[in-house]
Subunit: 425 residues, 2 copies
């Protein structure tokens, strides 16, 4: 047993002073506000953050894809150019550096939406899971938890075969995807999108994903909605609902351009809605109906997605700030609800309902913030500091499953510089 | 003469390696890419940043006003409660800490929109400039340049006398404001808004401000536009245009809710438009027509305004990111244009046309960024890194008028913590 005395910590929906916690085998065995001794942890401690939607390799594009003009679709062409260059070795080095950046930002669990399965021409590697294993190993080296969301990607647009680098993504059909995917223990599942998985393949994916987290990109761009309606006479959400994709183990990523019926479907099935506001700003997606989704019953989670920035503090407040821009009202999302989205709900959406809270029985994840940095000083040193003032740079220590991580930011930067240069060479 | 060798620097619109600069009496006497020796300055160096719109005392509300629900107008009530508590001593301590936070964020010049002139009941202090002097002294201690924008504030709403704390703001009439203001050497001028300065007082302010920077809050909220049209039969912009307020020495702050005619007036007069995107998000103002203003001839500057965050890197990219949310297009604002807004144009709008560039004859301001932090690594170490990846925490050194500043962030945080607690006690 190891004991810690957290100077201040967010426990059971409120910030308490002097919280004693005891950790045995990576779980909290006691959590006692106002009592207890142990190793002091100065600062404000919150539960571990869950980054519910990541494409690790997009990190290469930070500061690069933002320059110049274009649209979501021109961005996608740039992203594909990077996807083409990766092999298992470079993917391991890149993902390791990115996951270490996440660790330094207080992210204790990542949901990696993984579709770079095969060689660039579509031929499987000798080990058909070598790319997925690179991601699992990267998380292990970085010390964070991962849910590999093994992604089914079969078609380019509606009814077109994969082209170019998309051949890397495709297993041919959902049965082949299910066979490969089921051999990866501990993985979750994903449907890339209604563009990439034909309607007659969806049921196979749903059956293979039973009992596991199932994620899907949904209605990020109006053009996808239009094409789906043209192909199937249904919105993407309706199509997913009709094929049993929605439900409490499912996460709809983005959920930006929805009809009232779509919102009802997502809410009534208790589907998670993973917003990625900094990416949605960057790609010009628009502002999704977060309040309507919540009020209908959907549960908010957060992701850094394209990694234009890796900072879940920024994502938390961006949900509310973008809502303010869209509605001119303040307070649609309150502090505690945003913190819940980034911690407990995010972890639950990745199949870790036993993480994301400083509570007896939970996995012992802790994220401590400096509340006296220029950004955070004078803001109350409470949950409002975390959501409204802090940045990833304010994270001073991170524990995952009872182990403190090494947050050597200088080393993280050096590794990122080196691997990005290698990938772009 | 002192010589520096900047590892990489943004000079004349491009990033160059190994830029030698020489400084005499606080100005650059030579700037030579690819040549020269001197004290090495590792990292990426950009010109000094101008924070063209600041209310120093709003910093107290960071992390506090964001909690809960409300609107721009409920936020204003919270802000007034802080305005009521300040005296010359606490204002000096608060502003010093805030300007030191700005210095650590690479801000070399602040435009302080100052209207806390008098005692809480409206009685002038024995020294009628004691509050303004506190701000000047604060900037001096922090080592940054200031343009005190001495603000005329006469009425509450349209035609109503000042009430409550607004009595602190009012000189009674524009003549009295002009007499007091003209005794403050080096100050710029400001019209708080068309709410706060009746139309028959505007010409007096304009005459007294001749040759000096003149700033004015403009159309931040639709309610102000509606009330102005009801009172005068003109939009705020039209009213300002009719009274000679607009022009190349004028800055319209926010400029969010404009008609096509308003845009034409602001553009054809070469008025500056100071956007404060992080505040405009926070207050739910909406997204202003930055592209239309630019295309009409107005010149973009940036401010951190309410100091929900003090980070001009965030403000730069937020202009484009919010435009993407509003239009679903990428690239309305290109990297170099955003960097110009935050440097040369911002300085010019504050009456410092000889600052904001690493160029012979310019004031010797330098801001150096760590391009190998977790945020900035792998992003190219060029101007795109500054605009799309960096944060205030990446600033490693700052020079103002040839002098390096002390960026002791731990001390800044301690001072902010102490003074905010004092003000809220």
């Amino acid at each position: 047993m190891t004991s810690y005395l957290l100077e201040r910590a967010w426990v059971d929906g409120a910030v308490h002073d002097a919280v004693g916690v005891e950790v045995v085998d990576g779980r909290f065995t006691s959590v006692t506000p106002g009592a207890g001794g142990g190793e002091p942890v100065p600062g404000l401690t919150i539960p571990g953050l869950a980054n519910a939607h990541s494409h690790a390799f997009h990190r290469v594009l930070r500061g690069r894809t933002q320059r110049g003009t274009g649209s979501f679709w021109t961005w996608r062409a740039q992203m594909y150019a990077v996807a083409e260059r990766l092999d298992p070795d470079s993917y391991l080095r890149l993902a390791t550096a990115v996951y270490r950046e996440m660790a330094a930002a207080g992210i204790t669990t990542v949901g990696e939406f993984h579709y770079l399965h095969h060689q660039p021409d579509g031929t499987p590697y000798d080990d058909p899971h070598v790319m997925g294993h690179a991601l699992l190993q990267a998380a292990d080296v970085a010390g964070i938890r991962i849910r590999l969301l093994d992604t089914c990607y079969l078609s380019s647009g509606f009814g077109e075969p994969p082209e170019g680098v998309q051949r890397r993504f495709s297993d041919g059909d959902a049965d082949a995807w299910a066979r490969r995917s089921s051999a990866l223990p501990g993985s979750g599942a994903a449907i890339h999108s209604v563009r990439a998985v034909p309607d007659d393949q969806l049921a196979t994916v749903v059956a293979a994903a039973a009992g596991r987290p199932l994620h899907v990109h949904l209605s990020e761009q109006p053009a996808e909605n239009d094409a789906c309606v043209a192909a199937y006479g249904a919105t993407p959400t309706q199509l997913l609902a009709d094929h049993g994709v929605l439900g409490p183990l499912t996460t709809a990523v983005h959920a930006t351009h929805l009809t009232a019926d779509d919102v009802h479907h997502l809410g009534s099935t208790r589907t998670h809605a993973c917003f990625c506001p900094t990416t949605e700003r960057d790609l010009g997606d628009g502002v999704g109906p977060s309040a309507a989704l919540r009020d209908a019953g959907a549960r908010l989670t957060l992701g850094s997605d394209s990694h234009a920035v890796i900072d879940l503090f920024e994502e938390m407040r961006a949900v509310e700030l973008d809502e303010r821009l869209a509605t001119r009202r303040r307070g649609t999302w309150l502090t505690a609800d945003l913190l819940d989205a980034a911690t407990a709900t995010g972890h639950a959406s990745l199949g870790f309902p036993d993480a994301g809270a400083i509570a007896v029985g939970s996995r012992a994840d802790l994220v401590t913030l400096d509340t006296t940095s220029p950004r955070t000083a004078g803001t109350g040193a409470d949950e409002h500091t975390a959501v409204w003032a802090a940045s990833a740079a304010d994270v001073t220590s991170v524990m995952v499953d009872g182990r403190w991580l090494d947050l050597d930011r200088a080393a993280v930067g050096r590794d990122l510089d080196a691997v990005v240069a290698e990938v772009l060479r």
